[in-house]
Amino acid sequence: MRRVYPLEERCINCHLCEVACIVEHSATKLPLAAYHVEGLRFSAEDSRHIPDPAESSERGVPKPLTRTVVQTVEYLSISTTCRHCEEPDCVLACKNGSLYKADDGRVLLHEDKCVGCWMCIMACRYGAITRNPTKRNVPAVRNNGVNHHCDLCPDRETPACVWVCPTKALVFEDRDAP
C-alpha cells in the first residue's frame, strides 16, 4: 500500500506541505478562497501558546487545520503524517468505532460519529492526530471536536503534500514487504 514517507535530510522547513494540505481539504481547494472566504488559517504563530485548538478558535486565532505536522529542532525538520498502520493503535482505542481501516488500507474516520474523546491521540504512537474544533458532534461538551488525521488525499492521484514539496522530501510509495 502506498504511503507518504518523509526524507528528513531533504526537508527545508518551509511548511508548504501544511499549506497544500489545508488547501486540498478546504471546500473550494483554492488557496485564496480558503483564506478569504472560509477563513482558514495558515499561520501557527498566533496560536502557538494556546494548547487547545477549540480555545484557540474561540479566541479568534484558530490553529491551522493541517493533517500533517512539520516538527522541527534546529535545522532538522520532518513532516509527519498518519502511517495508516496495519493494526492501527487508534482503531483499537477508539471508544465508539468511529475510526476504521478501510478496504484500501487507509485509516479513516466516520466524521459524524466521532465524539472527540481523544482516546486516539492517547493511543497514536506517532503523534499523528490533531483535534479539529470546527466540527462538534457533542456540542454539550466544552472544547469538543473531532479526530483529524491524514486521509491520503482521496481526491488526488498523489497526496497534496507530496506534490507540493519543493525538495521532494516527501515520497508516495509502497514499502511493504512483498
Binding site: 535530510e9 527545508i12 522547513n13 508548504l16 485564496l32 478569504h36 499561520s43 534546529e74 535545522y75 521532494k168
Partner: protein, 515 residues
C-alpha cells in the same frame, strides 16, 4: 543552543526607524518587497525561507512585512510563495546620472560608514563591452554544404593535455583528460560552496563524461568515489594538499590566479568556515581563510617548473598537470612560459569569472576579458610552435553554447563553467555568496540552508545543461559544415566581428563581418 532557527527578532524590525547618519549605505533600500495583500495567505513560507532578516510576521496585525533595506533580491520568497503574492522591485533610485551611477554612490556611502574593504561574491557585473556578443558565427550556404547533426555523427569528444610532437603508432603518449563534451565544471571550493553542490557537480561530471574541480578547499572524503572525474587544485594556501589528495584525481591543477581577483589570493570569510569546512581545509572553525597572493614557493618561472615536476614525480607522470592563471596584460607571454615550464594544460580565467568572496573593487576593475586573452595566447603558442605542448582551458563568464563555439574558434580546447553551473541549479545572481547565507543552498555551508539544494537534483540539472548545450554545439558545428570539435579549434575564419574597431578585430584575429 544553536542559532539556526532562532525566531528572527521581529519586534526590533517592526520598531520605529531612526535616521542613522552612521549607516548611510542601508539608508536607501535597493529593493522593495511588494506583497499583494489580497493574495497573501499568511502561510509564512517566505518568513521561514528568508535568510537575510528581511521578512517577518507581525502577530498583532496578522500580516507579513519586510525590512526592505535587508532585501538582496535573491527572489527566494517569490519562488516559494504558493499564491504568487510577492514581487521584488527596485526601490526609487537616485537622480539619473551616467557618471555617478547608483552603485558608485552607495560604495562611497559604505566606505564612509565603515572604512573597510567592500567584499562581494559572483562575477564582474559592470558594463564592459563583450567580445562574445560582438562576434558572429559563419554558416554554410551553397558552396560548402552543412551537415545535419540528426543524421551524421558529431564528434564532441576532445582530449585535454599535452600532445606529442609527431604522431606515431607507438610513440610517446602523455596523460590527457578525455572529455565527452568540451565543458568542465570550474574550480569551486568546499567552503565557497557546499558538499551537496559539489556532489551534484561530481555526479553530473561522471554521467556526462567530463570533470569537476575541487577548487582550493580540498577533496571531501564523500567525494572520493568520484576521484576519476576530479581535478584537484593546489592553490597558494595549500589547503588539504597531500600525496593522497594528489593521487586520487584525474588531474592536478596549480592555481596561480583567478579571473575575479587577479594578483590576490583566495578568500573564505569566517562566517563560511563551519565545522565540516574547517576539518577539510585543516583550519580553525570560524576563522577567515585568506590564501596568500603569490604561492610563496613560486617566485619565478623556474620555481613553477619545479612544482609542476614535483607533482608529476609524486603522481608518477600518470596525470596531466594544469596551471591556472588570471587573464591579465601579457597573458600570452605568461602562458608561453607556463607551457615551457612543463604544464600539460593552461587555464586562463577572464575578468568575468565568478568568486565566492573578493573585494568588489578588484573584481570589477582588474583583469582582462577572456576572449582577447584566449585569442592572444592561442596565437602566441602557435607562433612559437608549442601550441601542441599544452591544451588551453578558457574560463570566465562562459554563458551559453554560442560562447563555447566562439571560444573554440578562438583557440580554446575546453571551457570551465562556474557561474553558469550555479545558475543551472537555481542561483539568481544576487551577489551575496560571500555572506554564507545563500537562499538557494549553493554558496553556504549552513546545514539548514545547504539542504535546499539536493545533490541528485543538482546533478540532473547540470547534466541537462551540458546535454542542451551539447545539442546546440552540434547544431552549430553542423551548420558550419563541420563534424568535430577538432575542426573548429582555432578556426578563426568561422568568426566575424560586428561593431568592433580594427584593433579589436586584429587582437582577436578575426575579420569584419561582410568580408
Amino acid at each position: 543552543m544553536s542559532t539556526y532557527f532562532e525566531e528572527p527578532n521581529g519586534r526590533v524590525a517592526l520598531g520605529l526607524r531612526r535616521p542613522e547618519p552612521g549607516d548611510w549605505h542601508h539608508g536607501y533600500p535597493e529593493y522593495r518587497v511588494v506583497r499583494d495583500d489580497e493574495r497573501c495567505i499568511r502561510c509564512l513560507v517566505c518568513v521561514r525561507q528568508c535568510p537575510y532578516d528581511c521578512t517577518f510576521y507581525d502577530p498583532e496585525r496578522h500580516a507579513v512585512y519586510n525590512v526592505d533595506s535587508n532585501c538582496v533580491n535573491c527572489r527566494r520568497c517569490e519562488f516559494m510563495c504558493p499564491t504568487n503574492a510577492i514581487e521584488i522591485v527596485p526601490w526609487g533610485g537616485f537622480r539619473e546620472n551616467d557618471n555617478w551611477r547608483p552603485w558608485l554612490i552607495r560604495s562611497v556611502y559604505k566606505q564612509a560608514d565603515t572604512g573597510a574593504v567592500s567584499l562581494t561574491g559572483f562575477g564582474n557585473d559592470k558594463e564592459y563591452a563583450s567580445y562574445f556578443d560582438r562576434m558572429v558565427i559563419d554558416a554554410s550556404q551553397v558552396t560548402n554544404p552543412s551537415i545535419d547533426p540528426l543524421r551524421e555523427p558529431m564528434e564532441m569528444r576532445t582530449f585535454v593535455g599535452k600532445k606529442p610532437d609527431r604522431l606515431t603508432h607507438d610513440g610517446e603518449r602523455y596523460p590527457n583528460l578525455q572529455c565527452e563534451t568540451p565543458v568542465i565544471f570550474a574550480p569551486m571550493s568546499f567552503g565557497a560552496i557546499n558538499l551537496n553542490f559539489q556532489k551534484g557537480l561530481a555526479m553530473a561530471a561522471r554521467e556526462m563524461g567530463t570533470y569537476f574541480n575541487t577548487g582550493e578547499g580540498g577533496l571531501h572524503p564523500d567525494l572520493r568515489q568520484f576521484s576519476e572525474h576530479a581535478i584537484v587544485q593546489v592553490a597558494s594556501g595549500r589547503f588539504g594538499v597531500s600525496l593522497d589528495y594528489l593521487s586520487n584525481s584525474a588531474a592536478c591543477e596549480i592555481k596561480i590566479g583567478q579571473g575575479a581577483k587577479p594578483g590576490i589570493g583566495g578568500h573564505l570569510p569566517g562566517e563560511k568556515v563551519t565545522r565540516e569546512v574547517s576539518r577539510t581545509r585543516m583550519i580553525p572553525e570560524g576563522s577567515d581563510a585568506l590564501s596568500p597572493a603569490p604561492q610563496h614557493d613560486i617566485y619565478s618561472i623556474e620555481d613553477l617548473r619545479l612544482l609542476i615536476y614535483a607533482i608529476k614525480e609524486a603522481t608518477e607522470y600518470t596525470k596531466p598537470v594544469s596551471v591556472k592563471i588570471a587573464a591579465v596584460h601579457n597573458v600570452a607571454a605568461i602562458a608561453s612560459g607556463i607551457v615551457r615550464a612543463g604544464a600539460d594544460i593552461v587555464v586562463i580565467d577572464g575578468f568575468r569569472g565568478g568568486t565566492g568572496a573578493a573585494p568588489t573593487i578588484i573584481r570589477d576593475h582588474v583583469g582582462i576579458p577572456i576572449e582577447v586573452a584566449l585569442a592572444q595566447v592561442d596565437e602566441r603558442l602557435r607562433q612559437e610552435g608549442i601550441r601542441h605542448e599544452a591544451s588551453i582551458i578558457a574560463a570566465g563568464g562562459i554563458r551559453s553554447s554560442a560562447d563555447i563555439v566562439k571560444g573554440l574558434a578562438l583557440g580554446a580546447d575546453a571551457f570551465y563553467i562556474g557561474t553558469a553551473a550555479m545558475i543551472a541549479v537555481g542561483c539568481t545572481a544576487c551577489q551575496q555568496c560571500h555572506r554564507g547565507k545563500c537562499s538557494w543552498g549553493i554558496t553556504t555551508n549552513r546545514p539548514d540552508l545547504a539542504r535546499r539544494l539536493q545533490p541528485e537534483v543538482a546533478a540532473e540539472r547540470l547534466a541537462n545543461l551540458l546535454r542542451g548545450w551539447g545539442h546546440e554545439i552540434k547544431e552549430m558545428l553542423g551548420l558550419m559544415g563541420l563534424n568535430s570539435i577538432e575542426s573548429l579549434r582555432g578556426n578563426r575564419l568561422k568568426l566575424r566581428g560586428v561593431g568592433m574597431t580594427q584593433v579589436e578585430l586584429d587582437t582577436l584575429g578575426i575579420q569584419q563581418a561582410g568580408l
